[in-house]
């Protein structure tokens, strides 16, 4: 117990001090890590806990991003407020997709295709809608004003990203300990058996989708005001949806630490392969990154975190 408190305090202190000692490159790396861990945690609610794999979370991300930016540029609404509107809109859209998918009993691949199709449709819509900037996208003029979600330097973004991650992890922590969480996992494990035991599978899947979509949309606003640029072919691409889901899958979906661990691993892996393999053959680092991913998926199919946990438990059992 005391050991835990000491570790917790040390970790907390390290997280608070880290941005002040890190170089700009490392600051950026940490922000990206937290941010993707946050998105992974949001995806985790639906994909990890409820077991409904979505390959279209870029849609909710973009709904959040575009909503807050449009409300900001046209109506002068603070993105802090606008992001809530974006989250609400994303939740509503998720209920539409969920209704189609779950009411008609789409499972597995068919649900994945549905989510992918919706993101693709939204991408085409964004490409052709003038108010969303079309192909060129939307640029945000930088005005350093925290109320406008715009900060000088990276340190404030670091703490915003960290808070977001804390918030999402808190939500997942609460879900894990509630009836809702038990039901989601039961649905993932065996939907019919859950239904037979009195679980309204449709309702709980819809609820998980809403929570997941709303949280993802908040992440979209963060991205918009960190990058100051939104382009449909980037934010609404399938590649982006994969980026959102890959971290929890690698780290261990359906666990609270999975998305966080997965994000750290992939960010470090990406940085490592970029640093050491970027010179010489162009694009080699992407190949290396891909190979390392394959290794993880092949040898740790349940994800890194559950596998590590299993090793530790077995080691402890041997010494006990």
């Amino acid at each position: 117990m005391i050991l835990r408190i000491v570790i917790g305090l040390a970790a907390g202190a390290a997280l608070l001090l880290l941005p002040f000692v890190a170089s700009s490159v490392w600051q950026n790396l940490l922000i990206t890590t937290f941010y993707f861990a946050y998105l992974g945690q949001a995806w985790n609610v639906l994909g990890g806990y409820a077991g409904q794999l979505s390959l279209g979370h870029a849609a909710f991300f973009s709904i959040g991003a575009y909503t807050s930016v449009v409300l900001h540029t046209h109506l002068g609404l603070s993105p802090w407020v606008g992001m809530l509107a974006g989250a609400a809109l994303a939740a509503v859209v998720s209920q539409g997709i969920g209704f189609l998918g779950f009411r008609f009993g789409l499972r597995g691949f068919y649900f994945i295709l549905l989510t992918l199709a919706v993101a693709e449709i939204l991408r085409l819509v964004a490409l052709h809608l003038p108010i969303l900037g079309g192909y060129t996208g939307l640029f945000i003029n930088f005005t350093p004003n925290p109320w406008q979600f715009q900060f000088k330097g990276k340190i404030p973004y670091y703490f915003v990203a960290l808070s977001f991650l804390g918030l999402a992890s808190g939500v997942v922590w609460l879900i894990e300990r509630s009836k809702f969480g038990v039901y989601l996992v039961a649905i993932r494990e065996d939907e019919d058996a859950a239904e037979a035991l009195g679980v309204d599978t449709f309702r709980y899947k819809m609820l998980a989708y809403a929570v997941s979509a709303a949280l993802t949309a908040l992440g979209g606003t963060f991205y918009a005001y960190y990058q100051f640029y939104l382009q449909p072919n980037t934010v609404l691409s399938m590649h982006h949806s994969v980026d959102i889901m890959i971290r929890p899958i690698v780290g261990g979906s359906g666990t609270i630490l999975g998305p966080i661990l997965g994000s750290f691993l992939l960010e470090l892996l990406g940085e490592f392969s970029r640093t050491y393999f970027a010179t010489g053959a162009a694009g080699l680092y992407v190949v290396i990154y891909g190979l390392l991913l394959i290794v993880v998926v092949l040898f740790l199919p349940r994800g890194v975190y559950p596998t590590l946990l299993g090793w530790v438990r077995r080691a402890l059992a041997r010494h006990a």
């Binding site: 009836k179 494990e189 065996d190 239904e195 037979a196």
Partner: protein, 257 residues
């Protein structure tokens, strides 16, 4: 008054008629067995009663209400719960968590639900395995888990689909005792079973299904002497006393692995 009433229910899959004009009633507190050869439509009938399948014709009434179009979770919440013939534990959940899913249907507070689950685990003899994962259980324990989860929902009617299949004689004996205990607590039970020893030991009344139709109904003694039933299912020379397993030609019912 009958708690469950099946009225003229029929169901066909493509050209194959699985259940044809079946009617019966289950009284509160009764223990009724449904027997018949493989493919007779017993499980289809269970799917219909529990809301997983919609009948083409006929209706199911439970506590006076029409269950047509009512979804399975709703039927469970109203007090009628089923188990699955092919056991379906939540693989990556512990035995405790498996039962908790059922218990949360009755009590929303997790702490209280854990208490309910603990009682059920003790009753069903799974207390020592509470921390094992669902997929690690042996077949007899999986069967118990099916029963435990269903019980945790606090049912009025329990629909048991072949809970004895694949068990050895000792295990069968224990499970018979367990079901008897549950029945004594006032839970109404409808039992699909091939293991005649269990059927004879437990049931107050037996229904026999063959090719989707009810061919006989009566007390256990009358059923084993019924020539139609002997011809369709039990086989010549069946006494119902010296048999541990299913009627000989139906032995080796496929169970899940």
């Amino acid at each position: 008054m009958s708690l469950l009433r099946v009225e003229n229910v029929s169901k066909a899959f493509g050209g194959l008629t699985a259940v044809q004009g079946v009617s019966f009633a289950l009284a509160e507190g009764e223990l009724l067995a449904l027997i018949g050869p493989n493919g007779a439509g017993k499980t289809t009938l269970f799917h219909i009663i529990s809301g997983f399948l919609r009948p083409d014709e006929g209706r199911v009434r439970y506590a006076g209400e029409d269950l047509t179009g009512v979804r399975p979770h709703d039927i469970c919440q109203r007090g009628m719960v089923r188990t699955f013939q092919v056991t379906r534990p939540f693989h990556r959940l512990t035995v405790m968590e498996n039962v908790l899913v059922g218990a949360l249907e009755r009590v929303a507070q997790r702490r209280q639900a854990v208490k309910v689950a603990e009682e059920i685990l003790a009753l069903t003899g799974l207390a020592e395995k509470a921390d094992q994962l669902g997929h690690s259980l042996t077949l007899p324990d999986r069967k118990r888990l099916e029963l435990a989860r269903a019980l945790a929902t606090g049912p009025r009617v329990l629909l048991l689909d072949e809970v004895m299949a694949g068990l050895n004689p000792t295990e069968t004996g224990r499970l018979i005792e367990l079901i008897r205990t549950i029945h004594r607590r006032g839970i109404t039970i409808l039992l699909i079973e091939h293991v005649m020893r269990a059927v004879m030991a437990l049931s107050q009344r037996i229904l026999v299904l063959n090719y989707g139709e009810l061919i006989a109904e009566g007390s256990p003694d009358a059923i084993v002497r019924n020539t139609k039933v002997i011809e369709a299912y039990l086989g010549e020379g069946y006494s119902g006393l010296d048999d541990d397993g299913a009627p000989s030609r139906h032995q080796g019912t496929k169970e899940d692995t």
